[in-house]
């Protein structure tokens, strides 16, 4: 059983996101370790990219910080390798924009990702229509290709997307880019329900999920996991230059968000 399958066998899962190399490549390893220690069940690691159009301002600034720190794709694979050594059982998913893969060549990219210890790859700007070149490479190296479904995805497209997906399905909660929101859109339960009918794969919800009550809503809707990015990345930015404080803040935030995974206890009725 793959590490991702093993994780979702005991879901719901808390998935944390970080940009590799933010704020620097060595600090990034310590951030990942702190997140793991605080209880992320799966770590999603973004390869920094110059033009992250699916991301909101908080994560975009993290990409910029990582690139300014000199982070290369080689550095990201080296980071994944070190995280893998630190946490042998933890599922790791690379989050990337397609040009990173295109430039390296899909075969080389997936072979290096697998060798580093990645379990899955999520390509945020590669819709199913364009994935023909990438799919066989991912399969060749045993890497799950995490599919994305948006609220705007038609039922026909959902079907096409799901037919090639493995690992888990990333449900985008809202029409927009990544970033914290006060509340999740009301349609999220419907989206989880509709996709649940079409696939046996685990469903994880991301984009906008940033508070314990969001986590609770998503889990109550029947999702197998939540993905939190901007709310954690913001803490890295806010604690620039204070690494101990940064790690404490990440631990506290993850602990609080994780509490949303557990259903509310029944109120005591005298």
């Amino acid at each position: 059983m793959s590490r991702i399958d093993a994780l979702f066998a005991r879901s719901p899962a808390f998935i944390g996101f970080t940009v590799a190399g933010d704020p620097g490549i060595e600090a990034s390893l310590r951030v990942a370790k702190a997140m793991i220690e605080a209880g992320v069940d799966l770590l999603e690691i973004a390869i920094p990219y110059s033009d992250p159009v699916a991301d909101g301002p908080v994560i975009e600034r993290a990409h910029v910080r990582a690139l300014r720190a000199g982070t290369t794709t080689d550095d990201v694979f080296a980071l994944v390798r070190r995280i893998r050594e630190h946490a042998p059982a933890l599922p790791l998913v690379l989050f990337t924009y397609h040009n990173i893969i295109h430039r390296r060549g899909p075969d080389r990219f997936f072979s290096e990702a697998a060798a580093a210890g990645a379990d899955g790859v999520l390509i945020v700007d590669l819709p199913v229509e364009e994935s023909g070149e990438v799919a066989p490479c991912a399969a060749r190296y045993g890497i799950d290709r995490i599919a994305l479904i948006a609220p705007t995805t038609s039922p026909e497209r959902q079907h096409a997307i799901l037919s090639g997906a493995s690992g888990f399905v990333y449900l985008i909660s809202l029409e927009g880019v990544t970033g914290e929101r006060d509340r999740l859109p009301p349609g999220i339960a419907g989206l989880v329900g509709a996709v649940r009918e079409k696939t046996g794969l685990p469903l994880a919800v991301g984009f906008g999920v940033s508070r314990p009550e969001h986590v609770r809503t998503v889990v109550a809707a029947g999702a197998n996991g939540v993905i939190v990015g901007s709310a954690l990345v913001r803490l890295i930015e806010e604690h620039a230059g204070d690494e101990a404080g940064m790690q404490d803040a990440l631990r506290a935030a993850i602990a609080a968000l994780r509490r949303g995974l557990v259903p509310d206890p029944e109120p005591d009725i005298p």
Binding site: Y49, S50, D51, P52, V53, A54, G56, P57, E60, R61, V64, L67, T72, T73, Y97, H98, N99, I100, H102, R103, R104, V124, D125, L126, P127, E129, E130, L148, I149, A150, P151, T152, T153, S154, R157, I161, I172, E175, G176, V177
Partner: protein, 390 residues
């Protein structure tokens, strides 16, 4: 060739959220192309409002100097001062047909922003224009013009704070608001169907040029020259000539020289990559990160180019050359003095190449230069570059 592809180039490399909007756009565009009501309205706007057709001006003084027959396709005389209005009127009308209530756009030199603001005002659609903070400063006059036309200009402070970041910001806005908003893309770049839509709306330039030169000279030109940033004015004038025995030359921003690394010549010095929704040539590093670009012309200061140009380069049908900032500035002055026409700095790149290319033509040779826009917006900038000395 697969729909949405130019050879291997083009495609739709976008977040899943945008796919429904691209599919809707493709369907709408397919429908309106067959709709006589749409063509009639667009023709009316182009003729009565925008001032088409634009003249094909014979340049007697320059022709005498260069020893061949030089014509300028006068897109600088289009309402708004540049070719951009062909596309913005077309797309704004299309947005109305789609029931969209808001237009967003991005702009580098400001001309596309102005043209979108004009089309929005004419057709009663509110407009927001994303513009890199650096560009808002170097094109302050166009910012004022957009605001005067009722558009809201949003300065973009991320990344290099130029056109590419403005495009990223506009794409983000679109992802968040695609039900009521049409993203009015300003060049033949981006995911399918944008490169096709923009090329079709800009092809009016080449269709008129072809007809006009046949009327005037009784034959087709030897060479057609146009500047290439994203490449919309170039594809607009080239496309109707692609099947003819006419040399087509696209002129890119050579900046401080191709060896300096400070330029915007993605076809001359870039490599194949995926950028802002399409596979094309891109200025990128070994990891696929887009590189910073430079041009004295804000409208050419972009790391990638439309996918159809990528195909035309590979097939050899169009030759792509680069012209430096210095050459463009020289051409800017020379055209102003010899013909009394101040070109946009973008268009000055095409003029600069024409000055070079004329050597290869004899006195009966016909050279057409697409004068994609007028230089009023650049006058203060050029004056500052040279301490106010013209």
């Amino acid at each position: 060739m697969k729909a949405g592809r130019y050879g291997v180039y083009g495609g739709q490399y976008v977040p899943e959220t945008l796919m429904s909007a691209l599919i809707e756009l493709e369907e709408t565009y397919g429908r309106i192309r067959e709709d006589p009501g749409f063509s009639r309205r667009l023709s009316w706007y182009l003729r009565e409002y925008a001032g088409r057709e634009t003249p094909l001006t014979y340049c007697g003084n320059l022709s005498r100097d260069l020893g061949c027959r030089v014509y300028l396709k006068r897109e600088d005389l289009l309402h708004g001062g540049a070719h951009k209005l062909n596309n913005t009127l077309g797309q704004a009308l299309m947005a109305k047909f789609m029931g969209k209530r808001r237009l967003i756009a991005e702009t580098g030199a400001g001309q596309h922003g102005v043209a979108t603001a004009i089309a929005g005002a004419a057709l009663g659609l509110p407009v927001e224009v994303y513009m890199g903070e650096v560009d808002t400063r170097r094109q302050a006059l166009n910012v004022f013009r957009m605001e005067l036309l009722g558009a809201r200009v949003v300065p973009v402070a991320s990344g290099t704070r130029t056109l590419k970041d403005a495009i990223n910001a506009a794409m983000r806005d679109w992802v968040a608001n695609l039900r009521e908003t049409h993203y009015l893309l300003g060049s033949c770049v981006g995911p399918h169907p944008f490169p096709r839509i923009v090329r079709d709306f800009q092809s009016v330039i080449g269709e008129e040029t072809r007809r006009q030169i046949l009327e005037r000279e009784g034959r087709l030109p030897d060479t057609v020259v146009a500047c290439v940033g994203g490449g919309s004015n170039a594809i607009g004038i080239f496309y109707p000539f692609v099947g003819d025995d006419v040399a087509l030359v696209g002129v890119e921003a050579g900046g401080e020289g191709l060896d300096s690394g400070r330029h915007g010549a993605s076809l001359s010095a870039g490599s194949v990559g995926v950028f802002q929704g399409a596979l094309s040539y891109l200025l990128q590093d070994g990891d696929g990160q887009a590189l910073e670009t430079h041009s004295v012309a804000a409208g050419l200061d972009h790391p990638s180019v439309g996918p159809e140009h990528a195909m035309l380069k590979d097939s050899g049908r169009v030759r792509y050359e680069a012209v430096t900032d210095a050459e463009a500035l020289h051409a800017f002055r020379r055209l102003s003095r010899t013909e009394g026409i101040i070109p946009a700095l973008e268009s000055a790149h095409a003029v600069a190449y024409a000055l070079r290319a004329a050597d290869d033509l004899d006195k009966d040779g016909i050279l057409v230069v697409n004068l994609s826009g007028r230089g009023d917006k650049d006058v203060a900038d050029v004056a500052n570059l040279h301490g106010g000395v013209a």
